[in-house]
Assembly symmetry: C2
Homo-oligomer: 571 residues x 2
C-alpha cells in the first residue's frame, strides 16, 4: 500500500528524508529562479495573448502541484515559449484576443491539456510521445522560435501586426511599418541589444575580470531584471506612456484567483486537438530536461508519473487563472545549477512568485511591453538551431525530409500543421523503410561456419540452394514484398530445389507475415521447391510452434544456417 501511494505521491519518498542542508540549498535555488521567472512569466503571458499577471498565476499553484506529484528533483514548471505560442495559435482561431472569453478559453485549454496528461499517465500511455522523433522536435522548436521572435517584433516597434505563421507575420509587419513608434523602437532595440550583450559579452568579460563562475552566473541572470527596472524607470520618469509607449499598466495585486474553465462542449471540441498537441510537446520538452538533469545525480525519472505531475500542474493552472504550462529547459537548468536538492525548491519559488504577485505588481505598472518582447526574443533565438538540417542530411535523407517538412510547414502554415505533418511523415518514412528491408543472399565463408552476403564476400554456394537473410522483422508492411522477392528469385532459376530463410534478424513475425510465409511455402511447393527456416529466435519459435504452419512447411527448421546447408546437402 505504501509503495503504491508513494509511486503516485513521490513527495512521500523525498519528504521523509528532507534535511536542513536540503532546505538551505532549496531556498538559494528558489531565490535565483524567482528573480529569473518574474520577467519571464510576464513575457510568456504576453506571448500567449493574455494579461501579464496570468504568467505569474500560471507559475504559482502549478509549481506546487508538480512538487507533490512530479518525480524530477530539479524540474521548474511554468509557462514556456513554445507552449505559449501554441496556446496563442489555438485560442485566436476561436475567440478574439483581449476578450474575457479568450482568458476563459485559456483556462479550458490548460484544463483539457491537464486531463489528457493525467489520463496518459494513469493509463501509462507515455509512449505516445515517442511518435515525435528527435529531428521533428528539433525542427519544430527551431521554426517555433522564429515565429515567436517575429511575433514580438510588433511590440519592439510599437506597431500592430498579426499572424500565426512567418509569412502572415512578415506581411503584416511590413504593411504596418508606417505606424512605428520611435520611442518604443528605441526602448525595444536597446533592451534587445543589452540582453544579447549580457549573454554573449558580459559573461566572458566578468570571467576575464576574475569573478568566479557562481557570481558571474548570478550577475548574468540579473540582466533581464536590470532591463525591466531601467526601462520601467525611464517610462515613469519621462512619462513616455503618454507618448505612445505601450505599458503593462494596472495589474491586480492579488494571489492567484480561483477560476473555473468553460466546459462548453463546442469549445472543448475545438480545443481537443490543440490540447493534445500541447500536452505531447510539453511532455517531450519536460521529460528531456528532467532526464538529462536526473542522470547527473544518478536519479530516476518515471515518465508515466511525470505525466501525472504535469497533468496536475495544468489542472492547477486552469483553476487559478493560468494557461498551459510545462517543465522549462532554461529555468530547470538554472534551478539545478543553483543547487536545488528536492522539489521543495519549486514550492519555495512559488512562494516567491506569490509574494511578487501580491507586493510587486504596482511596480511594473510602467513596464514597457517592448521590454518583455525583448526578453522573449533573446530567450527564443537560443532555440533556433538549423544545424539539425545539416546533421540529419549527413546521416539519413528520410530524417532530413521529416525535419525540413516540419520546419517549412510550421513556418508556412503554423504550429499545428507543422508538427502534425512532421509526425505523419516520420511514421510513413519509417514504415516505408521497413517495408523494403535489406535482404541478402548469403553463402558460406570458406573454412568457417559463417554465412555472409554473396555480393560482398567470396563465399561457397550450391546451385540447388538459395539462402536469403532478411534484416527486418516480418510484418504486414513487408510481408507481400517478401513474397515478391522470393518468387522473383526462384521463378527463373530452374536449378533451385531449396530455399532457406535465415531468420537471425527477424524479431517478430506478425499474422500477415505468417500468412505470407504460408503462401510462399505453398507456391514454392507448387514449383517443386522446399522452404526451410534457420536460426529462428526463441520468442518467434514459441509463437510458430502453436501454428499449423510448421506442419505445412515443406522443409525443416534448423538451429543454425550451417546445419541447414550441411543436412540438406547430405539428404
Amino acid at each position: 500500500m505504501y509503495t503504491t501511494l508513494s509511486r503516485y505521491l513521490p513527495i512521500l519518498s523525498w519528504g521523509r528524508e528532507y534535511t536542513r542542508s536540503d532546505l538551505g540549498n532549496d531556498l538559494t535555488a528558489a531565490f535565483i529562479v524567482t528573480i529569473m521567472l518574474i520577467p519571464q512569466s510576464l513575457a510568456y503571458a504576453l506571448l500567449a495573448g493574455l494579461p501579464a499577471e496570468a504568467g505569474l498565476y500560471a507559475s504559482i499553484v502549478p509549481i506546487m502541484l508538480y512538487a507533490v506529484f512530479g518525480t524530477s528533483r530539479s524540474l521548474a514548471v511554468g509557462p514556456v515559449a513554445v507552449v505559449s505560442l501554441m496556446t496563442a495559435a489555438a485560442l485566436s482561431n476561436i475567440v478574439e484576443q483581449g476578450t474575457m472569453g479568450y482568458a476563459v478559453a485559456a483556462l479550458s485549454l490548460a484544463g483539457l491539456s491537464g486531463v489528457i496528461l493525467l489520463a496518459m499517465g494513469l493509463f501509462r500511455l507515455g509512449f505516445v510521445a515517442n511518435f515525435l522523433s528527435h529531428p521533428v522536435i528539433a525542427g519544430f522548436i527551431t521554426a517555433s522560435g522564429l515565429i515567436i521572435a517575429a511575433s514580438q517584433l510588433k511590440h519592439i516597434f510599437g506597431i500592430n501586426a498579426d499572424g500565426h505563421n512567418l509569412l502572415e507575420l512578415v506581411i503584416s509587419l511590413g504593411s504596418n511599418l508606417g505606424g512605428i513608434n520611435w520611442i518604443t523602437a528605441l526602448i525595444g532595440v536597446l533592451a534587445t541589444g543589452f540582453l544579447f550583450w549580457v549573454r554573449k559579452g558580459l559573461k566572458p568579460l566578468l570571467t576575464k575580470i576574475g569573478f568566479g563562475a557562481g557570481v558571474t552566473g548570478f550577475l548574468v541572470k540579473l540582466g533581464p531584471i536590470v532591463v525591466v527596472v531601467a526601462t520601467t524607470a525611464a517610462v515613469w520618469h519621462w512619462g513616455l506612456d503618454a507618448r505612445g509607449v505601450r505599458i503593462v499598466g494596472e495589474v491586480p495585486q492579488s494571489l492567484p484567483p480561483f477560476t473555473l474553465p468553460s466546459f462548453s462542449p463546442a469549445l472543448l471540441g475545438q480545443l481537443l486537438l490543440p490540447a493534445f498537441l500541447i500536452s505531447i510537446i510539453g511532455f517531450v520538452e519536460s521529460i528531456s530536461v528532467a532526464q538529462t538533469l536526473a542522470a547527473k545525480k544518478r536519479q530516476r525519472i518515471d515518465p508515466d508519473q511525470e505525466l501525472i505531475g504535469l497533468g496536475a500542474a495544468n489542472i492547477g493552472a486552469s483553476l487559478t487563472g493560468g494557461f498551459p504550462v510545462t517543465g522549462g529547459f532554461s529555468r530547470s537548468v538554472v534551478n539545478f545549477d543553483a543547487g536545488a536538492a528536492t522539489p521543495a525548491a519549486g514550492a519555495f519559488t512559488a512562494v516567491g512568485l506569490a509574494i511578487a504577485a501580491v507586493a510587486l505588481t504596482p511596480l511594473i505598472y510602467f513596464l514597457p511591453i517592448a521590454t518583455l518582447a525583448a526578453t522573449i526574443i533573446v530567450a527564443v533565438l537560443s532555440l533556433v538551431d538549423f544545424s539539425i538540417l545539416k546533421r540529419s542530411w549527413t546521416y539519413n535523407r528520410g530524417d532530413f525530409a521529416a525535419v525540413a517538412t516540419t520546419i517549412l510547414l510550421t513556418l508556412a502554415l503554423g504550429v499545428e500543421a507543422g508538427i502534425s505533418a512532421g509526425v505523419l511523415l516520420s511514421v510513413l518514412l519509417h514504415l516505408y523503410r521497413s517495408s523494403k528491408p535489406h535482404i541478402a543472399e548469403v553463402g558460406q565463408v570458406p573454412g568457417t561456419e559463417h554465412f555472409r552476403n554473396i555480393l560482398r564476400h567470396d563465399v561457397i554456394t550450391h546451385p540447388s540452394i538459395v539462402t536469403l537473410r532478411v534484416d527486418e522483422s516480418l510484418y504486414f508492411a513487408n510481408a507481400r514484398w517478401l513474397e515478391d522477392q522470393i518468387q522473383s528469385r526462384v521463378a527463373g532459376d530452374k536449378a533451385v530445389r531449396h530455399v532457406i530463410l535465415q531468420c537471425s534478424a527477424i524479431n517478430e513475425i506478425d499474422f500477415s507475415a505468417l500468412e505470407s510465409l504460408e503462401a510462399i511455402n505453398e507456391r514454392l511447393h507448387e514449383m517443386g521447391v522446399q522452404l526451410h527456416l534457420s536460426e529462428v529466435k526463441g520468442p518467434v519459435m514459441d509463437r510458430l510452434n502453436e501454428q499449423h504452419f510448421l506442419h505445412q512447411l515443406s522443409g525443416k527448421v534448423f538451429l543454425s544456417q550451417y546445419e541447414a546447408v550441411h543436412k540438406i546437402l547430405a539428404a
Copy 2:
C-alpha cells in the same frame, strides 16, 4: 529500348511466342469464363447501383486493356463484389441512385481510380498496398460480404430498403417487410436455394455418379445460367412482371458506348478518398490472386506493372460506360483451371461478352432482379469467413484487435470507415509493439562464447558489467524508451561500471536513436559508467562511422560480445 518497352507492354513478350496450342487453350477458357461472366457482370452492376448493361461494358474494354498491359497470364478483370459495393457506397453519398449523374459519377470514380493506379505503378508506389495487413483485409472482406448479402435481400423479397451498413440495412428491411411481393420472394428464395444446392449438393452428386472433374466443374458453372434461363422463362410465360416482379427490362443492344466522365473538381474532390480506397483494395485482391496462380506455373508477377494494367483497365472502364473494375478471384481461378495460357484468353472473353451485349440483351428483358440478387448472395457468402477472428486470436492479440475493429466498424459504419480504421489501428499497433521491444539482459553461457538471457539461462555475469540486447531496430518510437530502460537499470546499481549494448538484432539506427544513444552515453558518463557496443551490423556501422558519436563514446565498439566482456575485464 526493347526491354523497357516490353516492361511496360508485357504483350510484346508473350505475343511473340504465341502458339496454336495456346490459341486452343485460350479459346476454351474464354468460352467458359464468358458463360460465367454474363450473369455475374449484370449482377454486380446492380450491386453498384447501375443499369445491368454497365456490367457487360465494364467487362469488355477493361479486359482487353489488361491483356495488353498486365503481367498475369490468368487474371480475369471486371466488376467484382467488394469493389462494386464500395462504388455504391461512394456514389450514393453524393448523387441519387438511378439518375444520369449517378452513372457519370461512376465513370469519374473509375477514371480517378485508374489514374491513381497508373500513377502508383509509374512511380513504383505499390508498397502503399502493404499497409493493408492480411487480417484487416480478411476482416474487411468478410464484413463486406455480409453487407452485400444483406443489401440484396430487398431484391429477393421485392421490397424497398436502403443503407450502407448492416444496421441501417436491417432496420430498413424490417420496416419495409410489409410490402413483400410473394411471387418475387418465391423466385428469389428458389433461385438462392438452387444455387446453394449446385455449389454444395450437385458437385458431390455428379462426382458420385461418376462424371470426371472437368465435366463436373463445367456443369456446376452452368448453374447460374440455368437459373437465369429458367426464371426469365417463367416471368415471360406467366407475365409475372405485370404482377410486381421487377425485371431487368430494356437493355440497349450495343457495343460499349464511348463515354466521358465528369471532370467537375467538386465531384472529383469528393471521390478522391473512395477512389483511393477502391484502388488499394482492388489492387490487393487482384495481386493476391495473380501471384497465387502465377506460382503454380513458376511465372512472375510484377506488382508495379500490375498497377499499370489495372489502371489502364479502369481508365478504359471510365471511357466505355463502365465502373471500377479489378482482377476477380473466382473468375480468375476458373480461367486458370479452364487452361488459359496467356492474356489472350481475356481478350477472347471480351469478344464473347461483346457478342452477348450486341446479340443476347433482348433475351434478358424478362430476367428478374431477384435472380441476379440470388447469384450475388451465393457468390459473396463464400467470402464470409469468421475463422480469421479465431486464428488471429490464437496467434496475436494485436492482430485480433485489428480484425475485430475492421469487421465491427465496417458493419456498423460502412466500408470506408471500416477499412480506414483497420489500417490505422494495425499501423498504430505495429508502432506500439516496436516502441516497447523485447530487451534482454544477457550473460555468458558457461563453456561457450554465447550470451543468453539471464532470466532464461544459468549464465555468468559480472557485477560491474551490464549487457543489454535489444531485439528491435532503434528508431524514434523506441529511442526514448531505451533511455528510460538503461537509466532505470543503472541508476540504482552502484556497482555498474560498464554498459554493453549487444546490437546483433539492430537492423537500423535512425537519427532519433542516434541522438538517444548520444544522450545515454552522456548520462552514463555523468554516472561514471562507460557505454560499449558489440556485434554492430555492417550497414549500421557504416553509418555510425560517419558520425561524431563514435568519438564521443565513452567505451569501445567490439566485434563480438565475448570479446567485449573479455577485454573489459582484462583492462
